[in-house]
Symmetry: C2
Subunit: 199 residues, 2 copies
Amino acid sequence: MQYPEPIAQLIESYMKLPGIGQKTATRLAFYTIDMDQVDVTNFAKSLVASKRDLHFCSVCGNITESDPCSICSDKTRDQTQILVVEQPKDVMVMEKMREYHGLYHVLHGVLSPIEGKGPEDINISSLLTRLQTNEAVKEVIVATNATPEGESTAMYLSRLIKPAGIRVTRLAHGLSVGADIEYADSMTLFKAVEGRTEI
Amino acid sequence: MQYPEPIAQLIESYMKLPGIGQKTATRLAFYTIDMDQVDVTNFAKSLVASKRDLHFCSVCGNITESDPCSICSDKTRDQTQILVVEQPKDVMVMEKMREYHGLYHVLHGVLSPIEGKGPEDINISSLLTRLQTNEAVKEVIVATNATPEGESTAMYLSRLIKPAGIRVTRLAHGLSVGADIEYADSMTLFKAVEGRTEI
């Protein structure tokens, strides 16, 4: 006996999500059937809306409903700094911190020779255009992830931008706040020693 | 800065699913935005269809598109046995085994005094009606879960049905196939010793 067609299709849809295998998808599908009609309808609507109403900001590449996005069009923000991140969700994480008030630029990926991703495959050219047309920018803060690809993308950007006389900085590496030295990996520990500060 | 409204709503919808907290919901929502348009549309459609096209079989309580369900209306199945399970997905698990060819009855829950669930809150009365109107049934196999609630529901059903001269049985408890005795809990071990068989 097979699952009734509507369940089978719902299971298949859930399985397209990352980290969700057949067992979890089945559990979610059966749970969905028991959910409130309103919740399921809203779920379906927000899925469709997320594809229909969201676009990438033509200036910074962040996900937005309006173009340019609310950050790019906010003149009260510090126009001298651009923080470069890999993904739109990184912007959200930075904004949650509430301590950064400059602009952003979203690369939508990193340079990765293994995956065949070169400079033209990520959102670099529009960053250069921004820097050329906007004289106010004094610093580019590269906040790519602390992975080999993130590091090499940071180096690449630095070499491209520095000659224009713009300061290029990188987020600090070191121990997480509250972390035990005992459990830190040696690469992190090395970065923490290297970047030690006067107290 | 808040998430754009369509993402915020999608995150909220994902969070209504079991075992999905804010972090996972956010990850899924951002993943959804990058998914193929077709996949997202199909996902939304199957969500709606799962609520619209699926009903409970009026005979056994299983989830079905047609009423009565394909198992209840299949005359080649053994009409003398009814296997009682807690949830519709338990029917699917049993069917996957391919060794049971009788009928099913889905309780949609178990007796649970703590949660205030009595016999009238689960699908018991229609089981009794089935047994009264269908003389062919010779055995009721109670396959509720091996939890205290599942056990007491099994006992309750046994007391109700046995007086009518119908055999009531319960699934065997014991070691899982391939399991180490070393790691078995003592309750399972006790059941395995109690239910030992001649070799």
